[in-house]
Chain length 383, copies 2
Amino acid sequence: MDGIEQPGQVNKEALKKLKAGKRPPHNVQELVDGILAGNRTLLSKAITLVESSLPEHMELGQEVIAGCLRETRAQLQNANGKLQTANGKLPTADYRLPTAKSGENSIRVGITGVPGVGKSTFIEALGKYITSQGYRLAVLAIDPSSARSKGSILGDKTRMEELAVDPNAFIRPSPAAGSLGGVARKTRETIILCEAAGFDVIFVETVGVGQSETAVHSMVDFFLLLMLAGAGDELQGIKRGIIEMADVIMINKADGDNIGKAQAACMEYANALQLFPPADSGWLPVADICSARSKLGIDCIWELILEHRKTTLSNGYFYHQRMEQNRQVFRDAIDAGLHHHFFAQKGISEVIAGMEEEIREGRMNPYRAAQEVLGRYLGGLVD
Amino acid sequence: MDGIEQPGQVNKEALKKLKAGKRPPHNVQELVDGILAGNRTLLSKAITLVESSLPEHMELGQEVIAGCLRETRAQLQNANGKLQTANGKLPTADYRLPTAKSGENSIRVGITGVPGVGKSTFIEALGKYITSQGYRLAVLAIDPSSARSKGSILGDKTRMEELAVDPNAFIRPSPAAGSLGGVARKTRETIILCEAAGFDVIFVETVGVGQSETAVHSMVDFFLLLMLAGAGDELQGIKRGIIEMADVIMINKADGDNIGKAQAACMEYANALQLFPPADSGWLPVADICSARSKLGIDCIWELILEHRKTTLSNGYFYHQRMEQNRQVFRDAIDAGLHHHFFAQKGISEVIAGMEEEIREGRMNPYRAAQEVLGRYLGGLVD
């Protein structure tokens, strides 16, 4: 197994193994065709393959990704003649989405905010508004599962009851039990699959105020930060990094007695935003208030997202950023491939297990152990 | 440059390059000896080498790490005869730290909590208490720098004014501009250096409630979660993963009018902790209240940390966990080495740049591009 499958070429061996297993067999073309036809069951199955850590599933998943990219690209080329670049001529298309099955016509929106800010209610309100406008919406939640129980916490569609039964919405929580890098990779690939299935708007939801936001920022077109007035949420140094990434900051729960406080907080953030250097996108970040409960400002948010798209499409930043993001995908895929190839070596598990025993017994330090196994592996390359 | 230096062997080429550069020259032995003698200037320089992304600095940093591990290990073996394992006989040493320059005798404490919880004041209060007890304390802060400005936010010792001038304390904020994996690796290595320099207690501070806590949990012996009463901080599903990792949950700011609320929150968390399955450590997590401002409960926290150490030393979990953590260091070091070797290939920058141009122009999808460059590189191994 060399991990270097040619794209589009069906791995018959992996398929055979898969057929022998418990999961129902699907070949790559069946999955690609199903996804392009908007079949949700096959979309879900493909996402599961992409998220799997079984080598056979991962390989199949990669082939499905490649197939979807090839097909959507072909559609786009038929439509536009050729792919547009930041430096080339840009499409003057209406900024309303053409609801085409092509990633280039989607909007990818990152939504983040601390626990308790009301993200689920917000996503349900904004999501329902978007589907009411005739768009199809996929909601991907990066779920920081408990490392100890390996369980999925957010894997619960009941968080968004209305959206969960909306035929134009698709909700997919992704367990993030592994590394953050892994999450980012799989979420990016899930975005591609959802776009191929015809979803126009992709929400990527994260929780917390940590590094996962940086990862999400690297895969979306638009980054929305939800905040609360008061509640220890004053402007603090630590949030600066997140605030800098935001295209829009929304002070949520601006309802009832809370409206005044929300407006005050909004002013504070609006002032803070002016202190930052202008963004490369040419977009001036906006702070505003909203209430997911009373639906205040929900339509405005969608208008802001479309306005941002219009701005960045016309100045070329939209494509520029997507291409830069692809560059990062490329870098990440190299690291993933190196890892995969190393651990797919014949006999490597025994070598690793032996080293780990040495480390566990305290006879070897882990840095030295890594140098030794790498030395043996890389010897083949150096010679 | 093959990236596979033999440990302890001085890389003369790297040293020469370093000497030609701007930084003052230090050889590995000088740094190792200085660190073991508790020289803070050389300790800081070594940490800077470890944190550097320049290959020459990284290599020197690795040699210093290896040197420190070798020396502290030799000291430990002289003291104890041989390293103890989870399965072997365990030292019945007094749980009070022997203030020895050996990582095995240190306590590594992770401290986390959302922004606004009062971490700096808390660390200052607990830190001063610990140094007043005759221990030496190093505080490492993982600083989630702004990805956009590349600046360091927490790089400010004035957050902890008293601790900053305490001769028995050492404060080191680490910029986390790169990947989370990189942060974790460098923080682990910084811990080793600080322990070699004779620090008995190592605090690793993180902010936010995200994946960085999982990374920190994987490098400490004891995990302390700071919380606030009220303030939207009710028990929420999302915090479960973090709560599960906590050995102690402290409700901070239990002073003035807030004491009653803090006690109520404490009860709530204490009840919640009982719902979790027993931890492998044999330690029953504790919830309590404290006030960094009025110093309420600060001494109790240190007693809890020592009690936890006593429990886990006597049931073997302390060493077991450290060895498991070393196993993870080993895995991470393999990935870092694979990455380093790939990008150190002759001519690779041109190949990568060419591919990135193709990707930017939209002529190549990033997954396919990664497969192609990997195929060429790994060809040498497969043949």
